[in-house]
């Protein structure tokens, strides 16, 4: 029988699932597009994972991370619900011992994690806007009619990248259109965009933090060879991309689940059959005060299993009290 740990990273753009065996080896890894339907995507992932794993499998622990971590947590019955920064740091420092810098660019956010002696000592996330994250690259690729998978390859063909304003996605786009209408080559424009995004990342997220090697680049955007090249050029350092670069958050969540349940605690995992259960999310606007909070309710087979979104805790708290009482 295969025993192991399940990690789920419910991100804004992709939902990733991994299954680690007891030795911490990655047995299965899935990268799915969330497409605005996190619950259905998590269920699809569980179904696919159950199919690809051997029939007799024991899940010893489940970890959830990503912006949809609470949702993933209540649906699957996760043992650990952790933020993305800790999850990424745990995964990378386990798979690449000695890592000192993690550059992570996902669909809607980008992070920089600084580690020393395997401990996170500093981190930063993009603050004001999502310029330079995966969604923007996706959008620009679509506008230019090139598949996102080809983006990096084309950018690498560039001989002299053009200069593009990277501070804001709106300016970047108008700059790109301007350069394209001037007649610049597509590879030079794409490489220019990569350089602009890297500049933006280092100024906005990096903000003078000490970037020491080994440097690891992960998240969906690490698939883009143009971005890797631009980082190496800007930093003057070699940048590594780990084998499971696009599911590292999920790997970290699984490792954290292992850490949590290693003392023999039973997992609260509801089983792969939750893929067949009917989950519905709904919401209402509370009229208890002028905050008019938009409360979200998650129902399992019609029964409310979680609520959040209320500032005062009136709705989420009522549910928690019922559980303990």
């Amino acid at each position: 029988m295969v025993k192991g740990y399940l990690g789920i990273d419910a991100g804004s753009v992709s939902t990733n699932l991994v299954f680690l065996d007891e030795a911490g080896r990655i047995r299965e890894a899935l990268y799915l597009r969330t497409q605005g339907r996190p619950i259905a995507t998590i269920q699809t992932g569980l179904r696919q994972l159950a199919e690809s794993l051997p029939p007799r499998v024991a899940v010893r622990g489940v970890g959830a991370t990503g912006s949809g971590r609470h949702l993933a947590g209540v649906i699957t019955g996760a043992d650990v619900v952790k933020n993305e920064i800790t999850s990424h740091a745990v995964a990378t420092s386990t798979l690449i011992p000695g890592v000192q810098t993690i550059l992570e660019i996902g669909g809607q956010d980008s992070k920089l994690i600084i580690l020393r002696n395997s401990l996170v000592v500093d981190f930063a996330m993009n603050t004001v806007c999502a310029a330079g994250t995966g969604s923007f690259l996706d959008q620009q690729a679509a506008r230019l009619g090139i598949p996102i998978e080809k983006f990096g390859e084309i950018a690498l063909r560039s001989r002299s990248p053009v200069r593009i304003a990277g501070r804001c996605a709106v300016f970047a786009e108008s700059d790109m259109i301007h350069k394209q209408q001037m007649g610049y080559d597509l590879p030079d424009i794409l490489a220019g965009l990569c350089e602009a995004l890297v500049r933006n990342y280092l100024n906005n997220v990096g903000k003078g933090k000490e970037i020491l090697p080994p440097v690891v680049f992960q998240g969906g955007v690490a698939a883009n060879a143009g971005m890797k090249h631009a980082f190496e050029k800007a930093l003057g350092l070699e940048v590594q991309i780990p084998p499971y670069y696009n599911v590292m958050g999920a790997v970290g969540a699984a490792l954290l689940a292992r850490e949590k349940t290693v003392r023999g605690l039973p997992s609260s995992f509801k089983g792969f059959q939750v893929a067949q259960v009917d989950f519905a999310s709904g919401g209402f606007t509370c009229d208890g005060c002028p905050n008019t909070c938009e409360v979200v309710e998650i129902r399992e087979e019609g029964r409310v299993i979680a609520r959040w979104g209320d500032r005062c805790g009136k709705w989420s708290g009522a549910l928690a009290e019922r559980k303990t009482g």
Binding site: E84, I85, L119, V120, C289, P290, N291
Partner: protein
């Protein structure tokens, strides 16, 4: 005359006490809410900081309840807040609200200046009465500050989730009800009993100092309830500014002795920042140093988006953080109500501090080994 004033944490309790004691009619604006913010954002200049927008929203909402006179603090820069009273008044005028404006500027020479400005509001009350009213208001806000400090200790140690917060509300009502100093003394004994009734257990908790711009620090609506969130995550917090200390420093010339003063923070800041930079920029740097010296695990800086004094401090904090080996997280607040980003950062920061503490324990153990000649580890 019906007097109103902007919200900033529990300042309402202090002002309400003073004015009611002196028989002045007042309107407390409804607690700051999304509606308040929406009004402020709609009518305030886009580039102004969050405090201006919430003030404006407070005044519009108070006007609907009959307020006709604004009582507000002023200042003399470089922080823009010093001009907010006038700007907000002008915006309200343009919108057709007829408000009288009374600005309490920090007195330049002696406390009498402040009293004379108060006199505009207090009218025929004798000086003696005014003095008593101010004293009672001050004592109450001191009582609330002490209550908050106690709650900061209780929250991470409570055994029943939410019991510390419930005790806080109950205790706050006791303090609010007191109408003179004798009653306040009784209320404070009552508060002690309420606090004792919160079931707690001794835990080894993380300690975080919260520094930054005063409004964002004191107003839970503006900082998305950061103290409560951290408390529930098992963190004991302390704030670099409490209202009573601020009033003592800025309005009363430090007449009340024995309170923590901004002077200590500013003195501590000197090696890094020798100048007043407006607002609480210098205090932010200094308080971070004081928290590091006091052995806190980390510091969180709060600022409203576009806050110049805090941006100055923010640019200095990385050096302080490296020199004194204390992690610092900066959070910027604006009109966003999406709390996911703040929660993620807080959780990650707390994880960082926890793992760091565990790592330190390891280093310490290894250090003792080194004495026996096994291994030398540098902390």
């Amino acid at each position: 005359m019906k007097v109103t004033f902007p919200h900033m944490g529990h300042i309402w309790l202090c002002v309400k006490t003073m004015l009611e004691y002196l028989g002045v009619d007042l309107v407390i604006p409804p607690p700051s809410s999304k509606r308040t913010l929406a009004l402020g954002v709609r009518y305030g200049p886009e580039f102004a900081c969050l405090p201006l927008k919430l003030n404006l929203g407070n005044f519009i909402e108070a006007s609907a309840l009959g307020a006709d006179t604004i009582l507000m603090a002023g200042g003399c820069g470089p922080c823009r807040f010093g001009y907010y009273a006038q700007v907000e008044h002008a915006i309200l005028q343009d919108l057709g609200y007829r408000y009288e404006l009374v600005v309490l500027e920090p007195p330049e020479r002696h406390v009498g200046q402040l009293l004379s400005r108060i006199k505009v509001i207090t009218g025929n009350n004798s000086w003696r009465q005014v003095y008593r009213g101010v004293k009672l208001g001050y004592q109450k806000i001191r009582a609330v500050d002490e209550l908050e400090m106690a709650i900061h200790r209780l929250r991470p140690r409570e055994t029943i989730p939410g019991s510390a917060d419930r005790a806080f509300l109950e205790a706050l009502r006791e303090i609010e009800r007191a109408s003179d100093l004798a009653e306040l003394a009784v209320a404070q004994r009552q508060v002690k009993e309420i606090l004792k009734s919160v079931p707690t257990e001794e835990r080894d908790v993380l300690r975080i100092g919260i520094v930054g711009e005063i409004f964002t620090l004191l107003e839970p609506f503006a900082n998305l309830d950061i103290e409560r969130r951290l408390g529930r995550m098992g963190v004991e917090v302390d704030r670099s500014i409490y209202l009573s200390e601020w009033v003592n420093d800025h309005m009363l010339f430090g007449l009340i002795k024995g309170l923590r003063s901004r002077r200590d923070a500013c003195r501590a800041a000197l090696p890094y920042l020798r100048h007043f930079v407006g607002g609480h920029g210098q205090e932010t740097v200094g308080s971070t140093i004081l928290y590091a010296r006091a052995g806190y695990d980390g510091v969180i800086q709060l600022l409203p988006f576009t806050c110049m004094p805090e941006i100055v401090a923010q640019s200095i904090l990385p050096v302080v953080s490296a020199d004194l080996d204390i992690p610092v997280l900066t959070l910027t607040f604006d009109e966003q109500t999406g709390e996911a980003g703040v929660v993620t950062r807080l959780e990650a920061f707390v994880d960082l501090l926890e793992r760091r503490r565990r790592g330190r324990g390891r280093v310490r153990q290894e250090g003792t080994e080194s004495k026996r000649g096994l291994r030398v580890t540098k902390a």
